[in-house]
């Protein structure tokens, strides 16, 4: 499998990571094009979150290379990568619990060059409107429901106008209404702001519907990569992740 072409925003090329004797990620290569959504699926323990941690600089890969907008990410801190336009959400929403929703959105703006206060406030408030939390702007995050915290975390990733957003299990355990809001927001962010998304999820039908490309990891390695409809038909994906529905006797 080759790495992406020249137009790719994010390229992951031959990346590997071991923890002691366990190979968590093995020779993974794929790419995320500009203004696209890539779905990342695979069974639990297949290395999806480890891969996201490598991409956003939390973990260093043992081998391989990652390029973001043409720049190698090796040796860069997560905050450096954030400055390059990479944002991320987590499996469990990691909002800053004692800050208000509005204050949460201001945190990533600390190093934004020459940002004018009124413009920052407008951007933050618009994002709260975008995710439907404008009435909660002055509520501390710990008082929001789990789903609202997820929306807030999503809005926080967008405040710096990132080029790519990594989302780890964004739909896990959320109310269907919140899930619908998240899907709408992701689609609108791609079309309006031109951002790309790499989304880890077990909600395969949703991911198939919203992704341009899809990659499946099984035991740390890429089992399939391509158009979503094709990926979910791959033998390796069915055997290693999706399973087969039992034939009636």
């Amino acid at each position: 499998m080759s790495a992406a072409g020249a137009e790719a925003l994010l390229t992951i090329d031959g990346v590997g990571k071991r923890f002691g004797g366990v190979a968590a990620v093995r020779d993974v290569s794929f790419s995320v094009a500009d203004r696209s959504v890539v779905g990342l699926i695979g069974p639990n323990g297949s290395g999806k979150t480890t891969l996201l941690n490598i991409v956003n600089g939390v973990l260093a890969p043992d081998r391989g290379e990652i390029r973001l907008g043409g720049s190698a990410t090796a040796g860069r801190r997560p905050s450096d990568l954030a400055a390059l336009g990479l944002a991320r959400t987590f499996q469990a929403a990691r909002v800053f619990r004692t800050l208000t929703a509005m204050q949460n959105l201001f945190v990533p703006l600390l190093h934004q060059k020459a940002l004018e206060r009124r413009a920052a406030h407008r951007r933050a408030f618009d994002l709260l409107v975008f995710v439907g939390l404008e009435r909660h702007a002055d509520r501390v995050a710990s008082e929001l429901s789990g789903g609202q915290q997820r929306l807030l975390e999503f809005a926080r990733t967008l405040v710096t106008r990132p080029r790519i957003v990594l989302m780890d299990e964004p739909f896990a355990g959320v109310h269907p209404q919140i899930k619908a809001t998240l899907i709408r927001c992701i689609r609108e962010t791609v079309s309006r702001e031109g951002a790309s998304f790499l989304i880890v999820s077990h909600e395969v039908p949703d991911l198939v519907a919203m992704s341009d490309r899809m990659v499946c990891l099984v035991e740390g390695a890429v089992a399939a990569w391509g158009a979503p409809a094709d990926v979910v038909q791959e033998e390796k994906v069915i055997d290693g992740y999706l399973g087969r529905s039992e034939e009636p006797a």
């Binding site: 801190r77 204050q103 206060r117």
Partner: protein
Amino acid sequence: MFSVFLIPTSTGSRAAAAAVWAAWVAVLIGLAAYGLFGTRLFLLSTLATVFMYAVLTQAWNLLGGYGGYLNFGLVTFFGIGAYTTGILFQYYELSPFLTAPVAGLVAAIAGLLIGFPTLRLRGAYFALVTMIITFAVQILALNLTITQGALGIYLPRLPLSPLAVERLFYFVFLGLLVLVTAVVWAVQHSNIGGALVAIREDEDAAEIVGVRTVEVKWAVNAVSCFIVGVTGGLYAQRIAYIEPTGTFSFDISLNVVLMAVIGGAGTWQGPLIGAPVVLLVADLLRVTVTSEVNRVIFSLIVILIALFVPGGVMGAVSRWRRARAAKPDDVSGSPAP
């Protein structure tokens, strides 16, 4: 490097906020009036000490309260400030009133140097190292020629009556307190305050969302050390004699942490409440309970506050405010665990 601005909020009614501000201004006017017309030396002196400690606690609050980095070595920078003005007087006969900013600068540089390695540590490791550094610097002061070892350094007594001296320092520390409180208020209401709270709550997440956590901690620590250094420099003039044991006393660091915790760490009001409560209660107990039992009672009070008033006085106030403002929520879901 930083794009710092105030974050607009609309919590609570304007009338209530105006009433609270009016109360603070009234307290300030009352204190200024007492400073001008009060004649009780003991009270003027005690209040000047309260103001000095409140300044130190506000400075500690920046990284300790907002950032969650429990610095048990604040007195290191206080002592460095005191010795800077002491030495500059000893060798160049420069008044500590003139050299206090230099003391702040030297303390800030020391804070940066010490902060480079220590601010990469977290939790108990950071607290322990800051404590150990205090003892190391104290031993240095005991052994260096320039600090005159255990003999210490004498500074000139001001040519004023004891009452006038206390009145002077009453206003010096009150003025400094107003200034530093304004700085802390601005930090609390700005995105740098938000970044510090983010560091306290989840430093890795703060870094991932784009906060250059190491640089923020270094910068804020340097500002904090500057304030502490200036205060130490002025303290040297106030007591007119500095020596390593008293100037680098661990009690000062401990008192500051207690004041922040009791008043409410991570709030601009906390140190203003914690400093008088700790000092006045301790003094009251010393006067009324004449034996070491007063320390036991004081410790019990601190333990009870820690157990039953988490977040200190301001923590209780903010919980009460939130409970009062709580409204039914029509969006699905309940507060996350």
